[in-house]
Symmetry: C2
Subunit: 528 residues, 2 copies
């Protein structure tokens, strides 16, 4: 398939704007050949209008039909074959194996949501039967379930060109919920985005979806996204990226007359608390695992371990030495884009210049352009407590080990941390009890708690929580990974005294979809 560089406005390709931009091959350090038309104001408005018209049609389609659409998207993405992998690698600098893995994850996510729809219980159907003889007043029949919000705008991330972009978790969950989606394509991988958009459009046509169920807008700047967020037809926004970008959207949305949910998954340094016993026997092993975790994907994971917190000891000294040695031996790898690489070098330098920090390991070798040279620093607890800059996320293979005086100082350090996606504890289970205050302190700051592991690698499953207290995300009550992500795009509607045969399938007496419901207080999948 050829990359047209055009916008996908529902079922129509459109290139009203003569202004174009290109993507960049960071491995070769040259621009890619495709050029992309910036979406025009009219195109954005048309995408929103089509989405608004598609909404009532799509909303009423049965879950099985929506599931068929999602499964067909997955198939069509698979059908893009090697071309998708090739464009992905050219636009991201990431290796082919990663591209194939991420494609698999993207298809798995779409199919997981399809299964969720086919099973059907996710709508949280609750039924309270009538009690015509209740005193002092009779009780009427009341039933409730979840319905979609309306058109959703999705801003793909730079670091996951497939799994958190055009047909990534935000799009999959919004389509599953019953919402049309308009993607503001990430400018660093607009070609990958177009290929995936074409797969979604083909799937939509094949499964008889209404025009406007999906649009894909190209943009190298911020205006297209701004216009999208301010459009009154948009009823929710999903974003994955930096704190700066996420908060700009969040604050912009504050200018809307109608408040809408803005889910921005932003930054995190994913603190790792190393309790004393962890390093007594396993120090070398943890050093090896953490060196790999810091280096994974050139450190461009939102769950990258950027902060390692421990109480000073000789075993900690050994761990730091081992970590430095292990990470020093790993090969650097290519970052997503020269801008990201440049920003990495700048931020790394800024933190290296802070008072009281010492270098544990630093790759000072000459490397290919856009390759990220890893660095690990250490600082003592009191210097960390004095300087809030030291908890800033550096997007890349970078981490700081904080050596605390004692458990009290460690607890102080934790209490000073911002909200995070994850918090990890290394130690023994008896230490989890001994240091329960530390465990509680971490729990209050994060969305996911890990014991004896590395935070990188986010399982896509119903029990996953990806999102944490601000500023890790703008709304810690929802997840952007796993099937619970569907809950971001819905609201409950109650039917009171409604004729039984006109109720939605999920609320009918005979429970034709055989879903789990709460009927008069009891969890059951039985008929009434």
């Amino acid at each position: 398939m050829n990359i047209s560089g055009e916008n996908y406005i529902g079922y129509k390709n459109s290139a009203q704007n003569s202004e174009t931009f290109t993507t960049f091959n960071p491995q070769l350090n040259i621009p890619n050949s495709w050029s992309f038309h910036e979406a025009s104001e009219e195109e954005i408005d048309e995408a929103c209008s089509l989405a608004e018209m598609a909404f009532p049609i799509y909303k009423q389609m049965p879950g099985a039909k929506k599931a068929e659409f999602l499964r067909t998207i997955a198939d069509e993405i698979e059908g893009l074959g090697d071309e998708l992998i090739s464009v992905y690698t050219q636009e991201s600098g990431l290796p082919e194996g990663r591209a194939i893995g991420e494609r698999g994850r993207t298809m798995d996510q779409l199919r997981a949501f399809a299964s969720l729809l086919e099973e059907g219980s996710w709508v949280e159907a609750i039924i309270d039967s009538a009690q015509p003889n209740r005193e002092p007043q009779p009780k009427v029949d009341i039933r409730k379930m979840l319905f979609p919000l309306g058109p959703i705008a999705v801003f793909g991330s730079s670091n996951f060109p497939l799994a958190f972009s055009t047909a990534g978790g935000d799009t999959a969950s919004a389509l599953a919920a019953g919402c049309p989606v308009i993607v503001k394509s990430h400018p660093m991988h607009a070609g990958t985005g177009e290929l995936v958009a074409s797969a979604i459009i083909t799937a939509a046509e094949k499964t008889g979806m209404p025009n406007g169920i999906f649009s894909n807008l190209n943009s190298s700047g911020i205006e297209v996204g701004q216009q999208l967020v301010l459009n009154p037809k948009i009823k929710g926004v999903g974003f994955t990226g930096s704190i700066k970008g996420g908060m700009a959207l969040y604050n912009l949305a504050g200018e809307r007359e109608e408040p809408i949910p803005i889910f921005a998954e932003m930054g995190s340094v994913n603190p790792v608390v190393v309790l004393p016993s962890a390093l007594l026997e396993n120090g070398e092993n943890w050093a090896k695992q953490y060196a790999s975790s810091i280096m994974l994907g050139a450190g461009q994971f939102c769950t990258n371990p950027g902060l390692i917190l421990a109480i000073k000891s000789t075993s900690l000294d050994s761990f730091i030495t081992d970590l430095g040695k292990e990470i020093g031996e790993l090969e650097s790898s290519c970052m997503l884009h020269p801008n990201i690489h440049e920003n990495y070098e700048k931020e790394k330098q800024k933190l290296s210049n802070q008072g009281g920090v010492n270098v544990v390991a630093e790759n000072e070798k000459s490397v290919s352009p856009n390759y990220a040279r890893q660095k690990v620093l250490t600082v003592n607890g009191s210097n960390f407590l004095k300087n809030n800059k030291l908890q800033r996320e550096v997007f890349g293979p970078f981490s700081i080990v904080v050596r605390c005086e004692d458990a009290n100082q460690l607890e102080q350090v934790i209490s000073k941390l911002d909200g995070q996606l994850t918090g990890t504890i290394l130690g023994t289970s008896s230490e989890l009890e001994k240091y329960s205050k530390i465990v509680q302190a971490i729990q209050s700051k994060v969305g996911r708690m890990l014991f004896n592991g590395v935070p990188t690698g986010v399982e896509v499953c119903p029990s996953m929580q990806h999102g944490g207290p601000f500023p890790a995300s703008t709304d810690s009550r929802f997840t952007s990974v796993g099937t619970s992500a569907i809950k971001r795009w819905v609201r409950p509607v109650t039917y009171q005294n409604w004729p039984e045969h006109l109720l939605p399938m999920e609320l009918k007496d005979d429970n034709p979809l055989e879903i789990m419901r709460i009927v008069d207080g009891e969890h059951t999948n039985r008929k009434i």
Copy 2:
């Protein structure tokens, strides 16, 4: 018990500020004798600090212990006896029967949340077991459940001095979720508020709750509430009141560094769509029922039917005549406060002065001070479509009947409506099918759909949705009535690879609380 007029800062009574205010008896048209000390900045800060300290202690208490606290609050409110009823009526102008009914509802709500906690499944426990042999990578054990957000600020409503105030739905749901609560007492019923606050404090002491689990702040102006919403220790806000008040808080919260959920339940005109057959046989009956619904509680219900939409016909003419006759025969009743009465008369006059409106019924009799004289207007569809003011809520016994030319115009009128708490359809079930576009249009605007009934009277049950698209509320995804309200004050936390014996009870293998969970995709209350 004497009304002290002091603030309740945790377990301490406090009156730092010499500035005081009084409440007003609208029936007697004289101020009440009690005087209330405005909360000082220091008192507000202290309440927030105590709540923050109480949070980690309260959060970890088992559900059964929290339930005991809620049940004891209900008992203590009951124990206030006649004094509560007397102060309630003196501060609201509402009759004793209403006071007793609302007290019952308040206690029922507290006990319903206690039952929810005792049952325990509300935490949405999800468990995905480890699969150590999964290819290409092993899967680790992951488990998730809901945890409380932190201290919550509650702004009671004027129109429900008990059920939506100090120990009302917001407070009950936040305490049930595991969050300390700070109430900004409503200045119109600060005495009722203090009595209920004393019941909560007594219950907290009796059941061994930490100091700061609850505070009650007096305030006649807006500053105390503003300071509360901006305090970084506050993690969520519940408000019931006007659009103006709710949006002021919502916008103020935008100035916070950390975004927090703001649940403002604001205004609604609760449109009633009258389909043609409804009036053929039942016209007189509906006229009687709607006259009562409009007059209920002096029209001071958030679900008051302020807009009746119908297609012109001779049966509509008869209905309008009957409605006018029925409502004209009802006695007017006392409003909550002279300010509310004055505002009612002003807003009623404003809408009466709009172009094209005709009076259906108007009470022009001389009435006691603060009594609300009912009024019903009619306007044709085209005039309604031209004038957005005609859909403004008039808080009181007031309604407008819109006579549409045909079904198309009726649909246009509906599409022009703002978001609403409720939408009601009167007709036959075959008409619901015939006018399915109208039904869909109403569904997209409301939180609760009713068939052949009146919107006033909100059942407190798991299937209730009280809250609708903006501006009915700031977040249509949550309800402020019914047990689902607990979901406003929680966020999920995931435990990955956590030692089984240290997991929260709800996530342990042997399911000691016997709650319903989703285990490897299956809804079950079995052990693992």
